[in-house]
C-alpha cells in the first residue's frame, strides 16, 4: 500500500513537471497562432495574449499577396510525385536486396546505406542536372528528392521485408509466377503499412524543405510553400501578423497529415529505428 502510494506521488510529481515543461513548447506556437489573427501593431509585442479582434482577413490577404495558391499546388505536385516514385523504386529494390543473399546484394545494401550518412553534394548535383538539360525544372527537384530519400526508404523496407517469410514467395514461384508478379501480388499487399510510413516521412521532409528549392528552382513560379513564405518574410518584414498567418498556412498540410497518420509514424519509427 505505502509502496503504491509512493509510486503515485512520484507519478504526480513527474506529471506536474512535464506539464510545466510542455508549456515551453506550446507558448511559442500559440504566439504564432494568435499573432496570425492580430493587427500589425498589436502583434508587435510578441507576447501570449488573445487577439482583441480576430482578423481573419490576414489569411485572405496572405493568400493573395504571397501567391500561396500556386506554391501550394507546386508543393503538392513535388511532394506527392517524389513520394510515390520513392515508394515504388525503394520497395522493389529492397525486395531483391533482401531476398538474394549474395555478396553483390550485401554490397549494394551498403551502397544505399551510405546515402543515409553522406551529405548531398549540392553544387555538383546542379552541374549534373544542367548537363542533363533540365536544371531549374520541377522534374529535376522531384528526381533529386526521390534520390535523397532512397537510402532511408531502402533501410525501412529491408528491415520489414526481412520479416516476411520467404516461403510465401516460394509457393508463388512454384505456381509459375515471375519476380514481378511475386513482388506485386505477394509482397506489395504485405508492406502497405511501411508504404504509409515512407509516404508520410518523405511527404513531411519534402514539404518542409527549403534547401533544394533554394538551389534548384530558379523560377519563383515553381516555388513550394516554405520558400514562398521565406520570400514573403523578407519582403513584409514589418507585418508580423501576415508572416505568422503565412507560417500557419504552410504548416497546415503536415499538421493534418500528422493528425490522421500518427500511428504510422510511430510504427515506422519502431520498425525502422529500433528493430531495423
Amino acid at each position: 500500500m505505502s509502496f503504491t502510494r509512493k509510486m503515485a506521488w512520484r507519478n504526480y510529481l513527474v506529471e506536474g513537471f512535464l506539464i510545466l515543461a510542455s508549456l515551453l513548447i506550446i507558448l511559442p506556437l500559440l504566439i504564432m497562432l494568435f499573432g496570425s489573427f492580430m493587427t500589425s501593431s498589436e502583434v508587435l509585442r510578441f507576447s501570449l495574449r488573445l487577439p482583441q479582434q480576430w482578423q481573419f482577413s490576414n489569411y485572405t490577404e496572405v493568400f493573395r499577396e504571397g501567391g500561396l495558391g500556386r506554391a501550394f499546388l507546386n508543393g503538392m505536385l513535388i511532394t506527392s510525385v517524389s513520394s510515390i516514385l520513392n515508394i515504388f523504386t525503394s520497395s522493389a529494390a529492397s525486395f531483391i536486396l533482401v531476398r538474394r543473399e549474395t555478396k553483390m546484394s550485401g554490397f549494394l545494401y551498403m551502397f544505399f546505406f551510405m546515402g543515409l550518412i553522406a551529405p548531398m553534394s549540392t553544387i555538383t548535383t546542379i552541374r549534373v542536372v544542367q548537363w542533363m538539360g533540365f536544371y531549374g525544372s520541377i522534374t529535376s527537384v522531384i528526381l533529386i528528392y526521390a534520390s535523397l530519400n532512397t537510402a532511408f526508404s531502402v533501410f525501412l523496407y529491408s528491415g520489414f521485408i526481412r520479416s516476411i517469410p520467404k516461403a510465401l514467395d516460394e509457393v508463388a514461384f512454384l505456381e509459375g509466377a515471375n519476380t514481378f508478379g511475386v513482388f506485386f501480388r505477394i509482397v506489395t499487399p504485405l508492406i502497405v503499412p511501411v508504404n504509409a510510413t515512407v509516404a508520410i516521412m518523405v511527404f513531411m521532409s519534402v514539404w518542409n524543405d527549403i534547401t533544394i528549392p533554394l538551389y534548384f528552382l530558379t523560377d519563383s513560379s515553381d516555388w513550394t510553400m516554405p520558400l514562398s513564405v521565406y520570400n514573403f518574410y523578407g519582403k513584409y518584414s514589418r507585418d508580423w501578423n501576415l508572416i505568422f498567418a503565412d507560417l500557419v498556412l504552410t504548416s497546415l498540410p503536415v499538421l493534418i497529415l500528422y493528425i490522421f497518420c500518427q500511428k504510422y509514424i510511430v510504427s515506422g519509427l519502431t520498425a525502422g529505428a529500433v528493430k531495423g
Partner: protein, 290 residues
Amino acid sequence: MNVSKKLYAYYLIWPALLIYSIFFVLPALAGLYYSFTDWRLDRDTIKFIGWDNFERIFTDRTLLLAIKNTAIFAVVTVIGKNLLGIALAVGLNMRLKTRNLLRAVFYSPSILSVLVISIVFTPMLRSDGTINRIFEAVGLSSLSQAWLTNPAIVIWTVAAVSIWQHTGFQMAIYLAGLQSISKEYYEAATIDGAGSWRSFRSITLPLLLPAININLMLTLIGGLKVFSEVFVLTGGGPGNASQVVGTIILRSFGEGSWGLGTAVNTLLFAAVTIIAIPLLIFMRRKEVSE
C-alpha cells in the same frame, strides 16, 4: 541458392539504383574531383590545382570559424537532444493521465518546417524580445542577452532552437525503444530490491542501446549537415559569427567559386564518414550478436 538467384530478377533494383546513382552518387564522386580544381562559374577552363582549395580552407579565418561552429552545433545538439530525449521518454513511459497529450505536444514541433520555427523564434530572441522580457519579469534580467546578435553566443542560440524543435523526434524513437523492453525485467529487479536509478542504469540503458545508437547517429549526422536553421535565423551573421559549413557552400555557390564550395563539401563528407563509420560497424556487430 542458384535457383533463388534466378527467381529474384535483378531488374527490380535498377530504377532505385539509377535515380540514386545519377542524382546522389555521381555528384558526390564528381565533387571529389572538382575539389581539386579552380572551377569557377565565370571561367570556361577548369584547372587541376591539387590541395590549394584545402589549404585555403585551413588558412581562411571565416572558413575555419564555419568549421568550428559546425562542430559546436553538432556536439551541443547531440548532447541536448539525446539527454532531454531520454528524460522525456522515460517520464512519458510512466502511467500518467496526460501521457498521450504530452507526447503529442513534445513531438509536434518536429513535424513543422525548420523555416517556420526559425521565423517564430526570430522576434522572440531579439534583445527586446519575449525571452528577455520573461527574464526581466521574473527578476533574472542579468540573463538577458542579445541572443542572435552577440557573436560569442549566436551559434549556441541556434543550437538551442534546434534542440527545442527536434528533441521530440528523438523522444519518439526512445519511447519506441522503451516499449520493446519487457516489464518482467523491472519486476524482477524490484523484487531484488533495486531502486529506480539502479533499474534505469542496469536495465533501461543497456536495453535501450539500439535506440541510443540510431539517435546518436541521426543527431550527429543531422548536426554536421546543419543549414536551414542558420540560414533563416542569422544568415550566418552577425558578420560571419554563425557561419557553418552549409551556409559557406551556399555562399561559394552564389559567388561562383564552385571549386572551393565543393572542397568544403568534400571535407564535410570526410568528417561525417569518419565519425559515422565506427558507429555503423558497432551497430552491425550488435545486430549480428543479437
